[in-house]
């Protein structure tokens, strides 16, 4: 394509002169010399080399357009709108200002004009931003009317705009105008488009259902053109998928079944399968009925898209039928085996992921492929495979799989390596490490993870290292060993991602120093020169760990001497009392453990102290307070030890004579003896209120402060003001206003500073009252917690009766409750539609279709059954009573299902179905009778009646 550069200066001068002549109105010059769309595109292309030039060209073009679009000449206006549409859709410009000009072009008799206008409207109009489309209601109606002047080329874009941009009102007004196209001659090429537009009308305006729904159903009939059937099936698919309760569409099942068996059109088959995937869980007999055709398709269809849809349908809705699932899994394997087609492999993995935990065997069978997929070039496939593998993790295989993944992470690229580490950390840490049996292994795996050169998950590793230390006592020796290995490696010190891991390692080796093998080595490691590469806070943790090590070595040194004294005396005693075997055996164990533990000699302790003193010494001058403070603590401790009377005497046993020594030992033991444990998120409740703190009064004072001024920007200010006047507090001792609301207010504003409580707002509101009984309760809680904790730490192997799984479930419910408010709104709207459709299909059209009626008619079908049962009362009182009760039960279960629908999976629906079928078996015949009666009632239109028997015969 050759592109003639346009003579820019010429145009510039022209347009500027016209600007000067008529500042706002377009002149004849504009009309005569208007640039066409092609000209505009060429000029944009010639200036596309630099963004500045391009922006300038766009601005100039916009100025032109603004002038031209006001021209009374429709051709000029149309070209201007054309140019604007181009700019807006490709350069993300706002064109809402031209909405009215687009409407001006609609009545033009020349076909291109309204088409340009409709295109502009379809790209920019939306009820939420443009409210001009209702102005064109009349024009749209004229274009939709059946007349020879309205060619498909004109009506099609009109329908398109309606489908994209109509508001609820407009859709309601124009719904009757769609009817001639929808139910006119079947060869009308506009029919599929009208169907899609009707779908939109139904979505935004459920009240249109009585008008539009029957013609839509008719489009499914045999006499329709294939394209109309296809469009209608798509429309029903959308409706059924969007509806919270698709049961109103059940009566159409025979039509869909016919299409499923007869249709050769893959588009139609896919949509029909989707519809059945939604309907089958509602009606067990339907599932049985479609099983065979679906399996046939699964076996025979040459189109992969149809096969995949069958797989999805089987896995999601027919998973009770083992043979079908077996077949689907075989097909998935075929997908996975197609080496040349990545798309199929990806979809195969996705289908495997759809299988619930009940079908783990299927994943296990394809295990090799899944693991091989970790090596794929495609990140999506690798991600999918990783998710599947994580889903396979069980207590029995967690070690094997995690080791495998870990080795793989070493070889893969940084992003994926971190994705793997993330997945492993998240899965293993889930629910307080419920999968982990061998904590020694897991702890060493954590250590290895930190050594992965790509590792960027230091934060999570840090958290888990410390957390396991707190929770799992048996894992501590291994934890300390892993920590030592991490600390001793000088290569790790420079890695900023590992800073946090090292901090955890230092803390662990300080806190659980009694498990450490070589104290001197540990201290040397903690004080190695390269630690200056660490961040200051981590260094502070290091020095605190040194402090703990020094304390521990001193205490054990003294203890050792004392024990030796007792031992020697005991030895002397045992010479006389040999019979006392038990006692000696006990003691022997203690002494052995000390002996094995590499006895601390006076010299080695001195050496240790000297080393620490020389290395930590300079840090006491450090300008970071944290480090300085801790360094001084360490030095102070050493100083105290050195000062004791007998320190310099080589004779060790003399040391114990020093009274001061035993005091120090007692003190230091007391300081570190209490074991740290994990803190519950609800810990605030267990804090006892100090006796001299009178919460009630203090808070009641706030009443007037808050009550007086609503505009107080921040309550904390009034707090501090009050605190400065304690005398006033006493005067106001009579509480005026219940403080709970104030507290709630404060909590609302400063929620950040509150620890999270459980979700019972009542308790937290009623603060002073709730505290007294709470104390008693909290003890129980405490005890429970400890039991839980010890169960975890002492019996971490397999015994998991106290794992907090039930707690998690409770939390989920709470979450669901909080979100239900949001979903209810949408559900309600959808419900209107399904109610309306139910009416259309089941013949309740006599009722006005206002919204309140709709909602009450939601269970109209059940209600009718009840009514017919009441008619039965005269002839068969017993049976109908039983039936009545059953129907009530059903409708109430239906209602409750409505409320929890957003949480429910298909699986649970299936369960419900199974439960219901047992009832069904017993009362099937009577129910059938009830339905039969209902059919004979005369108030439904004939066509609806004719549909009812069809579905009953089909379903039974």
């Amino acid at each position: 394509r050759s592109e003639a550069p346009i003579p820019d200066p010429f145009w510039a001068s022209l347009s500027s002169s016209s600007m000067a002549a008529t500042s706002s109105a377009p002149s004849l010059v504009d009309t005569l010399f208007q640039r066409s769309l092609d000209d505009l595109i060429r000029s944009l292309r010639s200036s596309s080399s630099s963004s500045v030039l391009e922006a300038a060209a766009i601005t100039r073009a916009l100025d032109e357009i603004r002038r031209e679009i006001r021209s009374p000449d429709l051709d000029t206006k149309a070209v201007a709108l054309q140019k604007l549409t181009y700019l807006a859709s490709l350069h993300h410009l706002d064109m809402s200002w031209a909405a009215f000009h687009a409407l001006e072009l609609l009545p033009s008799p020349s076909l291109p004009h309204p088409r340009v206008a409709y295109l502009a409207a379809s790209l920019s109009f939306h009820p939420s931003s443009t409210d001009l489309l209702p102005l064109a209601t009349h024009q749209l109606r004229k274009h939709l009317a059946p007349s020879p002047a309205n060619t498909p080329a004109l009506v099609a874009p009109a329908l398109h705009v309606l489908a994209l941009a109509s508001s609820a009102d407009l859709a309601c007004h124009l719904a009757p105008d769609l009817l001639p196209i929808l139910s006119g001659q079947s060869s009308n090429p506009l029919r599929p488009k009208a169907i899609a537009t009707a779908l939109r009308a139904l979505a935004v305006c459920p009240d249109a259902a009585p008008v539009l729904f029957k013609p839509l159903v008719d489009c499914l009939s045999l006499s329709s053109e294939p394209s109309a059937v296809s469009a209608a099936v798509s429309a029903f698919c959308e409706l059924a998928l969007a509806a919270p309760d698709p049961s109103p569409y059940l009566p159409l099942a025979p039509e869909f079944y016919r299409l499923l068996v007869d249709s050769r059109n893959n588009w139609v088959l896919i949509k029909v399968l989707k519809i059945f995937a939604r309907l089958a869980p509602l009606e067990r007999r339907l599932a049985v009925r479609i099983l065979d055709p679906v399996c046939q398709l699964l076996r025979r269809s040459p189109a992969k898209s149809v096969v995949f849809e069958c797989i999805r349908t089987v896995l999601s809705s027919l998973s009770d039928h083992d043979s079908a699932v077996r077949l689907a899994v075989d097909k998935i394997k075929e997908f996975l085996a197609s080496d040349d087609d990545l798309n199929l492999r990806y979809l195969g993995l996705q289908a495997l992921a759809m299988l619930g935990p009940a079908y783990l065997w299927a994943v296990e069978e394809s295990r090799e492929v899944v693991i091989r997929s970790l090596n794929d070039t495609d990140t999506n496939i690798r991600h999918q495979a990783l998710c599947l593998i994580m889903g396979m993790l069980r207590e029995s295989n967690v070690v094997e799989i995690c080791n495998l993944l870990f080795k793989y992470a070493m070889k893969s690229d940084p992003d994926f390596a971190n994705e793997i580490l993330d997945a492993v950390l998240a899965t293993c840490g889930r629910n307080v490490y419920e999968l982990i049996v061998d904590f020694d292994w897991y702890v060493s795996l954590l250590g290895e993870m930190a050594r992965n050169p790509h590792c960027a998950k230091g934060d999570e590793i840090e958290r888990q290292l410390v957390d396991i230390g707190l929770r799992v006592r048996d894992a501590r020796p291994e934890l300390v060993r892993v920590a030592r290995d991490l600390l001793i490696d000088p290569a790790l010190l420079g890695n900023p991602f590992l800073c946090r891991v090292l901090s955890a390692a230092a803390w662990v080796s300080g806190e659980y120093v009694e498990s450490s093998r070589n104290l001197l080595e540990l201290v040397e490691t903690l004080l190695q020169p390269r630690t200056n590469l660490l961040s200051l806070l981590v260094r502070a943790v290091y020095i605190q760990a040194v402090f703990k090590v020094v304390t521990f070595s001193f205490i054990s040194f003294i203890k050792q001497i004392q024990a030796f004294d007792t031992k020697s005396s005991a030895d002397r005693n045992s010479a006389f009392e040999n019979e006392n075997d038990v006692a000696t055996a006990d003691k022997a164990v203690i002494f052995d453990s000390i002996d094995n533990n590499e006895t601390i000699k006076h010299e080695s302790l001195s050496h240790l102290l000297d080393f620490v003193e020389t290395t930590v010494g300079p840090l006491s001058e450090c300008d970071n307070v944290e480090i300085q403070e801790r360094a001084r603590n360490v030095l102070g401790l050493i100083h105290i030890i050195r000062e004791t009377q007998y320190w310099d005497i080589v004779a060790e046993h003399e040391l114990t004579r020093d009274k001061k020594i035993s005091e120090i030992v007692e003190l230091m033991e007391a300081a570190f003896s209490e074991e740290l444990g994990p803190v519950s998120t609800n810990a605030q409740k267990r804090v006892t209120v100090p006796e001299d703190l009178i919460l009630n009064e203090n808070l009641s004072d706030l009443a007037e402060v808050l009550g007086d001024i609503d505009v107080t920007p921040c309550t904390s200010i009034s707090f501090s003001l009050r605190c400065h006047h304690p005398t006033e507090t006493k005067e106001d001792s009579a509480p005026v206003i219940e403080p709970s609301s104030l507290l709630a207010e404060h909590r609302k504003r400063h929620g950040l500073y509150y620890l999270p409580t459980e979700k019972d707002e009542v308790e937290s509101n009623d603060y002073p009252l709730a505290n007294e009984p709470l104390l008693a309760v909290s003890h129980v809680d405490d005890a429970k917690d400890i039991v839980k904790l010890t169960a975890q730490s002492f019996i971490p192997r397999k015994a998991k009766p106290t794992k907090p799984r039930p707690v998690v479930i409770r939390l989920d419910e709470g979450d669901g409750d909080s979100s239900s408010g949001l979903t209810m709104v949408k559900e309600f709207k959808d419900d209107l539609l399904s109610g309306a459709i139910r009416n259309v299909l089941l013949g309740n059209e006599s009722k006005p279709s206002s919204s309140c009626d709709m909602s009450s008619d939601r269970t109209s079908r059940r209600g009718e059954n009840d009514a017919s049962n009441n008619n039965d009362l005269f002839s068969q009182p017993k049976e109908s009573n039983a039936l009545d009760g059953r129907e009530h039960r059903k409708s109430s279960s239906r209602k409750s299902r409505h409320h929890t629908r957003h949480k429910e999976k298909n699986g649970s629906l299936g369960n419900e179905d199974i439960e219901e079928t047992s009832h069904r078996h017993s009362t099937r015949s009577s129910r059938h009778q009830g339905r039969h009666k209902h059919r004979e009632r005369g108030d439904a239109p004939p066509d609806v009646v004719s549909q009812e028997p069809v579905i009953q015969d089909f379903l039974l």
């Binding site: 790209l123 498909p152 080329a153 798309n343």
Partner: protein, 144 residues
């Protein structure tokens, strides 16, 4: 809605056609969404599959010469069918323009939109026959 949007983007990441269905995004949101999608999809090689998950969409894409055809769909839409749809769209344009290229679409954006309009309405695929899709456009070409 099945199809949420159809995007045509060239190798440089410039939008060549954009049609959104059913949901309304502001200009800024569109720009951001298109930018994210383009970055994600254009970085992928031929050895990677044609499906990308982004936000709450699934994006099915295919590359033809210098143009990427990206279709955003609902999560329960059939990916393989959408790939077929993309291919059909390209074949239709090919039949009309004869060996279609980026410039054809730039200079005949309206026609490209009209073809898409014939095929997809309100997110539903309504026409899959190439001759039916092209009929109104050919009629109009004759008339003018």
């Amino acid at each position: 809605m099945g199809i949420r949007f159809v995007l045509l983007v060239n190798k440089q990441g410039q939008t060549r056609l954009a049609q959104y269905y059913a949901e309304h995004l502001t200009l800024d949101e569109r720009r951001a969404l298109e930018g994210e999608i383009v970055r994600k999809c254009l970085a992928r090689t031929d050895q990677q599959c044609s499906f990308v998950e982004h936000r709450n969409y699934k994006i099915v894409y295919r590359r033809y010469a210098s143009l990427f055809f990206l279709v955003g769909v609902d999560n329960d839409e059939n990916e393989l069918a959408i790939l077929e749809f993309i291919h059909l769209f390209v074949e239709t344009m090919d039949r009309h323009f004869g060996n279609v290229c980026e410039l054809d679409i730039m200079f005949h954006l309206e026609k490209a939109h009209f073809m898409l309009e014939e095929m997809v309405m309100n997110g539903c695929i309504v026409e899959t026959s190439k001759s039916n899709i092209l009929m109104p456009i050919q009629l109009m070409d004759k008339a003018s």
